[in-house]
Structures are given as C-alpha cells and as structure tokens.
Symmetry: C2
Subunit: 327 residues, 2 copies
Amino acid sequence: MTAPRIRDVAAAAGVSYQTVSRVINDSPNVRPETRQLVVEVMERLHYRPNRAARALGLGRARAITVVTANTTLYGYASLLQGVEEAGRQLGLAVGVRVVESDSAADVKHAVEYVSDPTAGSVVVVAFDPAGAGVLRLLPEDVPVVAATEAGGLPGSTRRMIFLDERQAAADATRHLLGLGHRTVHHVAIPSEAPAAARQAGWRDALAEARAPIPEVVAAGWDSRSAYLAGQRLARQTDVTAILCGNDDTALAVRRALFEEGRDVPGAVSIVGFDDVPGAAYWTPALTTVRMDFVALGRACVAALADAPEAPLEAPRLILRESTAPPP
Amino acid sequence: MTAPRIRDVAAAAGVSYQTVSRVINDSPNVRPETRQLVVEVMERLHYRPNRAARALGLGRARAITVVTANTTLYGYASLLQGVEEAGRQLGLAVGVRVVESDSAADVKHAVEYVSDPTAGSVVVVAFDPAGAGVLRLLPEDVPVVAATEAGGLPGSTRRMIFLDERQAAADATRHLLGLGHRTVHHVAIPSEAPAAARQAGWRDALAEARAPIPEVVAAGWDSRSAYLAGQRLARQTDVTAILCGNDDTALAVRRALFEEGRDVPGAVSIVGFDDVPGAAYWTPALTTVRMDFVALGRACVAALADAPEAPLEAPRLILRESTAPPP
DNA sequence: CCCACGGATGTGACCGGTCACATAGATGGA
DNA sequence: TCCATCTATGTGACCGGTCACATCCGTGGG
C-alpha cells in the first residue's frame, strides 16, 4: 500500500528505472512506444514523483519561493497569486517566506532560507527596503527574479521586472490639472527608491505644466498614517486635488477630508493607485490607476522558466467619480 | 566554496556525522560540551541543513502547505499570513497551493499535490466547496488540520478549527433590532455549509425577537454580484437594515443603496463581517464583526505541531457609524 | 565489408540527510 | 567484584530520485 517508486514503475513496465526517469523528464531519447508504455504504467500505479528526492538528486528543487514583506496588501497578494498560478501550471511548488522588516537579522534569515537549494528559484518582491535588502544579499548562485518598482533597483544586476506606472502617474496628474486644479498634492506610500515612480510621474506632469510642486506627504502602509496625512492636507483650504499612493491610502484620505467637511469630488478631487476590486463600488467610485500585479507575478515566473514573455500591459488611468473641477 | 554538509561539520568538529545530526534534531543524548562544540562549528562554517535531504530521510518534509481556493480575499489572505508567521517561527517551510474550483479534476490535482510527503503537513482552508472537497478526499496518512466555518464540517473526522461567529452574527442582528428596525435582511457570501454560521446567528436573533425572517439574498465573492444583490434590496422601501456577508459585500451594497438615493445610516443601516483594515475609515465608518483570521492561521499551525493552543478570541461586533435607528 | 557514429537503454555511484543497530564507557545494585 | 543498565557516540544501510558512463543496436560512408 506504500507509494510506488520509480523502480516499481520500471519493474512493472519491464524497463530500467533510468528509462522511467527519462520519461518523467521528457528526455528526447526514448522510443515513442516505450514512452507510451511507461506513461500507462505510471497512470495505472498512480505514480507521483517524490519532490524531495528529485530536489536532492537535481541539486535544486523544482519550486519557486516568493520572498515578500507582506502577503495581505493588495499589490503583494496579487503578485503572489500570479506566481502561484503560473508556477502551478508549470508543475512547480510555490512557497512563501515573509521578511518582517529590513533589519539585518530579518534580511539575513530570509537570505539563508532561500539559499538552501531546496527553496528552488526565487521571486523577491523588492517594492520596499526589506525586499530590496534581500535581493542585494542573495548569493550569485541562486536563480532569482525581482519584482520592483518602475525603473528597477540600482545596485543589483539581477533580473528585474516591473510595471511602469510613471506614465500613468503623469496621466493622472495631467487629468487633474486639465480639470482646472492649480496643482496636485501627493500622499506617498513607503517605497524603496529615493524617487519612486509614482512620485516621479507626478513631478513630470507638474513640471511640464509649470504648476507649483508641493511637498510630498509621507504615509505608511496602515490606514491610520494615511488618515493622519489626509488630515494635514484637509486643513489646508488651498488643496483641491490629491494623488494618493494607493487606493487604501485614498480611502483614509477621503475620510479625513469628510471629517473636515470637504466633499469629494465637490471640494477636493482624489485619485488612487492599484484599482482594488472594490474601487469601482466606492461612494464616490474612485478614479485610480489600474495595476496588473497578477500579470507581474506571472511574468516573474516566465522569466525564471525563460519562457516567452508576453509584454506587460502598462498601468492606466481609470476615470470614475472622485475627480471633478475645483470649486 | 560549495555549501558544507553534515559530514564536513562532523569532520571539523572531530565527531561523527550522526552526532551532528543529533545536535540538529535536539536529541537529548548528547553531552552538553559536545553539543556546544558542534554548534560552534556549524556557526563558523555557516552550515544550513538541506531541506530536501532531510525530507527524503525523514519521509516527510518539515513544511506546511496551505491549500486554499484563493489567496487575495481578506479572510484567506490573513489566514495564510498567520500560517506563514507561525510556521516560520517553528522553522517550517510554508507553501501555497490554490484549488481553482470544486471540480473533480481540480480537487484531485490538489489532493495529489499534497499527498507527496514532500508537501509536509497540510492546512486546508475549507471555507468553501473547493477546500471542503480536498479535505474529504485527502488520504488518511497525510497530517492535516482544516480551517472551517463555525461548527466544522460534517462528514470528515479530521481536526478542524474555526472562529465561532454565530454568536457575533446574532449580536449584530440584535443590535439592529434594538435600534428599532422591524427586521434585518441578509446578503450571504458563498459558503460550504448548508446553513452558514453567519446566517445561523442571524436567524437565531430574528427568531428570538419574533421578527420576520426575510429571504436570504445570495452573492458571490465579487463586488459586482454583491452590488446586484444590493440593488434588489435597495429597491424595496421596507428594508431598513442589512447584515452583509462580509465587508466587501457591504461596500458594494452601500453603493447600490446610494444610487437608489438611500442614505446610510439615515435610511438604511448596514453591518459587515471581517473588519478589514480600512473599515474604520469608510465614510461612514463600517459597523462590522471583527474576525481574527491571522490567529486562526496560527492556531492551525499550533494544532499541527501539537503545541499548546491559546483559545481563539471570539469574533465580536465593532460599533461604528453605519447603523442608526430607522427613519 | 567493415567500422565509425548516434540513438535507445541499462548500471553503478551519488545527492545529504535519517534510521536501526553496534559499541564503548560510566554507574550502580547484588 | 561482576554483570545489568544506561548514556554517549559511531557505523552501515537506506530514502527516491539523478548523473555519468557503459553497452547494445541499426545505419551509412569509405
């Protein structure tokens, strides 16, 4: 009743274990009839290759582990979903390893974890300092692809893939300016790059229109810090347009605006980033930039498997109800 | 420059490889000084045990794989976060495997995947038919714990852990009734159990108050179906209170209400389920039931490691701004 | 006609741990 | 004093695949 091994299949098919191994690994040098026979026997015996034995013999597991600072925030979770989906289709096991912070200890532990060949290939989500730190410290011999902010990460020669949101950020800013706003304020989410792409696009559009460039208000990943940032802006009566670092931020900013009695979009226009599934159902529905993180995750897997890569669709502005001309 | 093996450590420490193995596995029969010596050598050589070799020798990997229908929805994602966190602390690798649907093929593939001992122990998220299907088909010899809806899943003798939200659902309904609403409507999310706990608690409270029990309006996981469900209720002028299956549903229902010109909470009160991070920042802030899915995930890992289990905190109603007396 | 060559297949060693069992030394009761 | 017992440690086989290499066969060119 114990699970069949490669040798059991070989015996039942009357071939050597190596031939079975060849069939499993799609070696070209197997006669079609032999292959057919082996496949049938594997089917009949319900044979499943043992991943551990394979990893041990191969020296590296047929697996992907995603190293990330978070698993629940929209972008991170969606990316993971994309990796899992693509990995599964390729018959790869998918693992997750979170790096709690960018402290030396946390980064080191994560690096050690994926340095074990059993971890397989690695996708590091380098949207933040923790992920970036892991990417920098990763030994040369572990195959890795990094999902980064637009433009990649300087100081690393690893393969990097990203969604280029700079253009869309500029589009969003231009949209607001075109509506008649004198300028656009920005609430930034945490970021690794000194000048994040979202912020860069926003600057581009402002400079292009010769609009004043207000100071960036920084927020964290949590709603509370975004709310606090929103309060600061809500109290300044001259702010009429805000580009938020992401949709969750926009939600909290909108709340702060509301508490200060400033209607959206009547008094202030807001634009988010990501286009979370619920954004279209907000009241008012949120104008935001759609980011396809699932596709990004799939692209990372494709790069790892050096499969043909379909180009990533560029992020684009989705116009809804949260923007309007200034009062 | 190649990674050191257990034999290298043994040679450097002047002991046998078995002794090193004993140190790694915390065997009690090692002299303290010997242990100390080996630990130092392991440190110096940067020794990291090879997980694949270990899994092969042990017959089962020191790992946990989470089988789930989804990774991005709040409850699922949070549960995964809890499992990862607890698993990591125990030195276990954490994997994810999604079951796309409850079709026989999908379920079978997932079951085969985790039947490989390399998958380690398994946490199946049986909130839905897909997960429940996997749980039912899983061979006896794979160690598993299931996270289920309140009350567990009939037809399986596996270990099950859940958050008991029935009480909280009843509390939420009573709260609404206490405010003066004649009855409370319910928009349900997909569920495995014929009578889901949320729905059961709602019924309990309605029956207890001898209030009419309206027909349940079913919705899917997507915002659109929740929105459609909301529209149906929004058009009925006699509905003044709605208990939604989760917060995302509540968001879409509120949107439908808004479009029909019905103010929340002025004309209609709504209550959600989950307490997603942004719920407190909605406009109006959402009254909802807080569910600690992260703790649920941790509890699953604890059960698998048969560690002492801290009892799970019961879900409870968080009063905010989306409920008020009927007009 | 023979031999070089390439495709199909089989054999033995190996990946890096674990298990079962053997062995040596220390302890203690009769 | 001697042997039973327990603790600390070492040895060989094994987990289930893979790799490198050997072997066997059919084919085509010199």
